[in-house]
Symmetry: D2
């Protein structure tokens, strides 16, 4: 009851209403348990708005000073935990109540010409700006961890897979790098999402522009936005900037999930290509021998969750006319969850990557002579056999080897020659696995030089010395 009264007394509306909200309506309506964490951004916007009102002569210097000092006190109280368990409707009401405690009725002057519609749009964009910065750091950090691991894995050869089947030999470094480049693209997505979000809502009022002639260009600079939103009705009802961010988060989560899925597979008994550090493996409550790749499995699971968040955001504005509708209040749980979960996942995966140990002997043991089949076909093609025919011939050789029960590389020369006269010589010249890998030396291939070039390019992109076109 006390809470309800406190709310009714300080809520930002209600002059025309008799009585307060019904309890079950209030429970549904309250957003403070979710939006309280916007307080630093709401305070930042409040200070800028106070100065803008002063510049527009709606506040004199004395009142401005009192408000700014009051906001300092409020900030301290919030830092000390005043938001926890507070009874207010939302973060804006909370801050006004706290300011009222310090400066009295003057607190109400701060709301001149603004509305919660432009306030929350501003707060949320400021929050997204911070979130992008945090995500970018963690994504880069994971990419660096992959880079470091790859730099140590140039010499190690393992099967490369398509369709989950052994395909051609590749370097371990090369596989790790295949997971780093998507993260580079993700940083580009984050930057683009941030850029598109840098439109100032403050001064838009509820839908039609502020009734006070504040200088929005000045506000824009003060709050570090790139430009003033050109239409107040649009900007108060627009949550695309949040959807952009959660989409980027969704793709990051997906890339992390693919990395995690591949590493979880390599940690299985059948592959045995890597060994997880004890600090990143977990056990079973029943089976004492288990070493489970929970971190990687959870990373996969989080991917599903973040896509769920994205769907929520994509559905929210469906069928709504322009401008603010309360449906949009549901943007924050999804947005916050996507960012929180990703920030929880990325460091754990980075740690797991940084501490895992490859097991080169298991990788090498998995190399199957059949994986040299393409080299043989390429060899025939280089002797001007049309590739399609070469492919068919080597397919026959594969069948012959299976029938004879010998590895592809041990098919007797006489038998091979029946398929094509050049085959015995080609078989003899196949050489080592290393030699096979080196045959794919074009840009982006798995040869030593191509991989080293990749490592250098990735380093440049990650430390910002590159051209940046990858983003």
């Amino acid at each position: 009851v006390a809470s309800s009264e406190a709310q009714a007394e300080h809520r930002l509306w209600g002059g025309r209403f008799s009585g307060g909200l019904a309890p079950e309506a209030e429970r549904l309506n309250r957003s403070l348990p979710v939006d309280y964490r916007l307080w630093p951004h709401d305070l930042r916007a409040a200070r800028a708005w106070a100065r803008a009102l002063y510049r527009a002569a709606f506040l004199d210097a004395t009142r401005l000073a009192r408000i700014l000092e009051g906001l300092d006190v409020v900030e301290q109280r919030l830092t000390d935990g005043a938001a926890i368990g507070a009874p207010d409707e939302d973060v804006h009401t909370l801050i006004e109540r706290l300011l009222f405690d310090v400066v009295g009725d003057l607190a109400g002057a701060l709301n001149t010409g603004r509305s919660r519609n432009d306030q929350v749009a501003t707060d949320l964009r400021l929050w997204c700006r911070d979130a992008v910065a945090a995500l970018d750091r963690e994504v880069a950090s994971l990419a660096w961890a992959l880079h470091a691991k790859a730099a140590d894995g140039i010499e190690v050869v393992l099967p490369g897979y398509t369709h989950g089947q052994r395909a051609q030999p590749v370097r371990w470094a090369y596989v790790l790098l295949a997971h780093a480049w998507p993260l580079v693209r993700d940083r580009g997505r984050l930057a683009a999402a941030a850029h598109r979000g840098e439109e100032l809502p403050l001064g838009a009022g509820a839908l039609a522009g502020s009734g006070v002639a504040v200088d929005r260009a000045w506000l824009c600079g003060e709050l570090g936005f790139a430009r003033v939103a050109p239409n107040a009705l649009d900007v108060t009802g627009d949550r695309d900037f949040a959807t952009d961010l959660v989409f980027a988060a969704g793709l990051i989560a997906q890339h992390v999930a693919r990395l995690a899925a591949e590493l979880a597979l390599y940690a299985s008994g059948e592959f045995g290509f890597i060994r997880l550090a004890d600090g990143y493996a977990t056990g079973s409550s029943l089976m004492p021998q288990k070493r489970n790749p929970d971190i990687f499995e959870l990373a996969r699971g989080k991917g599903a969750r973040i896509v769920g968040d994205l769907i929520t955001l994509l559905q929210l504005p469906r069928g709504l006319p322009a401008g603010y509708h309360k449906d949009l209040q549901e943007d924050k749980p999804a947005l916050f969850d996507a960012v929180d979960q990703l920030l929880l996942t990325l460091p754990a995966v980075r740690g797991a990557v940084a501490t895992l140990e490859p097991v080169p002997e298991r990788m090498r043991a998995a190399l199957d002579p059949l994986m040299l089949a393409t080299d043989l076909a390429d060899g025939l093609a280089a002797r001007t056999v049309p590739f399609r025919d070469a492919h068919r011939m080597i397919g026959e050789l594969v069948r012959v080897a299976a029938t004879e029960g010998v590895p592809l590389t041990d098919v007797p020369a006489t038998v091979a020659a029946r398929v094509h006269p050049a085959l015995p010589e080609l078989l003899a010249s196949l050489g080592s696995w290393e030699a096979s890998v080196e045959r794919r030396s074009t840009v982006g291939g798995s040869s030593r030089e191509a991989v080293q070039r990749q490592l250098a390019e990735l380093e440049q992109v990650l430390d910002g010395s590159g051209t940046g076109t990858h983003m």
Copy 2:
């Protein structure tokens, strides 16, 4: 650090590991902040398991008694809030630690033959059983509120709409009932979801059945399940029961959202068909005159969120082999959120429905003579004009009325007769709006008798005296 030590000491695995989890891995891995609320269900399953171990002679009577007494103490401590801020990995570990505090090493005996895989599957199904019951009560309650409102709204006629356009006159009761029937179907969905979920996992072990010969049929009865899950690998990796429930929740949310959308529209200035009670309307921080239908808007928004939760659940098992994977840990945030949000939304919407006031004069004012066009076409059809021709003729009459600038019902007889000789008489006999509504008297129609029949049928279905085939 202390928390980490406490965890390491009491965690349910770890004999083969050196050191604990890395901090960022632990943060990702811990599920207690989400799954703590399963403690009543975990306790219930623990008591049944203790008895089953006793029946299988793995516990003697004394030790069983000590464990059961210990679980009573644990229950009291959890009721008193012991889960809050606890440092444990998950709810199972928490309960074992608390039990250890009471009965010492004997606590460890309770884990004989069970695994967290079958435990959590059991707990979660018990939780879903409670959730279904709670949802069913609230859905029924909203349906009753619609019934009550409809019973008061038989006399009131308003436009019925298709494509958002005035179509034919209907009764206000009839519109409300159109939103009650989907809820009836939803109760059927909830019941079916519950029924499908009533498979006992306990005794499935981690994947292959328990190593202890417990009597699962007895356990099944003890815990109130309908049948023993036939395959342990299936039941430990299956979350379909949760997906079924969240799908039902998603459709409920959608039905509530459609109701909310229609009522929000009717509360607009342009429609003005209903007036919200002060306890279910909110104001604006900027515009003193506003009365916003926030409850209905939030109900729409929650619909989006719950579909997001469903998507998370639908994606989680994608591409996983049978059996438990840690990805499944992400089932709980989505499941709990869907149920919580719906339980938050339904009472508020019910209250808003129960307290809103229809504004019959505004409804009547919106009745447009054009809405009688079908009656005229039906009248021609009854005179053996093929309906398609009748439709075309009345379409012409509509154009004529528009050209002449008169209501459809005021087209001069001579003009109407040129379209079809019977039209003047038909126009003259159209009668009141009530008369038009009464013309649609088939089962499910909007005539008085058909609506009264519907009300009676709905009442029977809701109070369980009906045949139940609607579900």
Copy 3:
């Protein structure tokens, strides 16, 4: 142009409009390329409607006979392909035009008292009825294929997995059965979806009931529905029956995807547990040696697609008031796609399952002595060591074995005894893999008898001789 004219001439509306639709509007509006396949259901409903009009005295016997004969001719023309490339707006208009070709203006009489809103709702429910039957057959057929394969796989032991890690030995039959039971539940879902969909829309008119006093109870029986929809506004705007079906399809697809994912993994070089028949494996255009499990990969991919269809359906009615809106026209592409794709996928997966060959020697080679750890812990627990302590001790034994570089089963007795005095005896009595499997003999476990019981139970459920509670 000709097409546009034909359309304008025969479209089911337009008397009040001048000119036709703009070409780009017509392109968007036309649904015939999608809904043409409803023609058999539209014809069936048309015949019933004609009889109902006759029974309501809106048609005399002669006209009824002409219409019914006309519909026979129309059916023949449609069977001969008249729908292909037809210019009409939708399937209803197509059929009216064809009927007009046969019976002239009388064709227009058939539309008395009905609307495309109740027509399409009826057609679509009839279509879903057929779709459920077809899906049910295919799902059962896949379950039978798993049953048959399992019946041949009782003797074969392989590792069971959790978290993708070897956990405990299980029977090959047991793994296959774990994928059959979800399909049994799916049949229950299909049946429930079908049952909920069996509400007759016909006679609902556009929104308010038919203006013609047809006998809907008679129509209900004639068309085989279970009950008359109780509210015309509800039933014309309701697509829950389609969503129910696509949800069931989505879960089926997910279960097939999990089966496919597990089999694709087992077909990899590292596992090598199964070998696909040539008729169900594909090659690479580059690598002559490849045998790719495309069927299983496509089955996984279809799962994603069908969930996409479900999302479309779940979003469509968001925020729509009760009753028909044209948004609902988008229900059909999603519904048809989900069913079509599943009907394409199920037979291919069934064939791949039926023809694959297990490779028991590879399965056996993957059995790792560590998988006996739980048996050892259970053994200690049976000697009254609290299981948690037993678990810790065996965890230590695992570490010792790793340190010593020996299999768990070969840890020297003196070393084992230091962990617990009973361990040497337990190690000595472990016995074969078969013996380990037999230790899990509770209902649902992997022992021979438990698996045989499962096979019998599944057979009963599939052939309908069981109690059916599984659904």
Copy 4:
């Protein structure tokens, strides 16, 4: 059978297989009915690849010339419809078969060093490039239509809405512009998606780089890509470029849906703010008077469908290791559908916008004096009443007016003065609706000058003469 034989003969693999695919496997596996439309892009890539092979000395000039001439013939045959009903597995096989018809075995030489994995990735990126261009044109065209309509709507004042409730008066132009700016941002998203997609896959081989030392940098320029993909394993398994595009399509669809929803509402009888042209309205098969906004409703529905497509794409790679898996074949139906549907929707909506007529008298009639409440509160705030207090006072005034049953602007001066002494004067000076609109003159507001500035800015952005920062 013939088709199956033709397939087997010309398929791009199979040397190691006995027999063909089982019929149901072939049906699932074939992608030609979907991917045939990539033929222009596959041909373009084929020509570039032929030249690259020549430059790498794998083809001599004569053979290159024969292949290029052969591809010209193939192009002509495809233009003439050779893809329709063709029996081949996919577009690549189709083209090889057609080329074989012209140049014989030499056709097989074209496949040297390439794989369908890098081919399809290349084709699809080229297709997306065209799709982005087409979408961008249509989005711009819709934005121009809104601009033109807005330019004609500066003088017309109507209620602006938040929460679906009348809020403050705004200009009709201003509302239309609120829907144009999201489209401007969408063009930025399309451009960014396109840019990120401009990575050359060709030469990546199946996973590890081409075995032929082709000059990928040359290929990159030849095909107009921005850069060579840095890792072949990444680029062959990456479909982010398609997901980016479909995400952009999803937001475009959402923006169109919001516009459509608002216009459909304004076309209702209750609002009556606009009148649709006959060419963009449709009728009812039952109700002769109906004028339905089907175009706008379908636009809303397409939004749901395109989000469904996005979800499909987001799920496809979930849990897949790096590199190509056949799951990815399901990318094309979703990608093509999203683009096709949007290209179907945009022109129809543009036409409907361009031809609708505003009804200024209905807009003006909806202006309610209550909408001046904020102006009064602002007026008090300008007299240094803290805004919160001013808000409360005007709230009281609203209640008083309701109690007295008079419009807000007609509250007697004596009564108003009791709320605040300045109110009578403020009430007297409120002026016209135009005057109220003019009070919100900050950038982005609804005053005449602010709107004219917006129009000019939008024009600059759309014709490319602006700074482009909006994107």
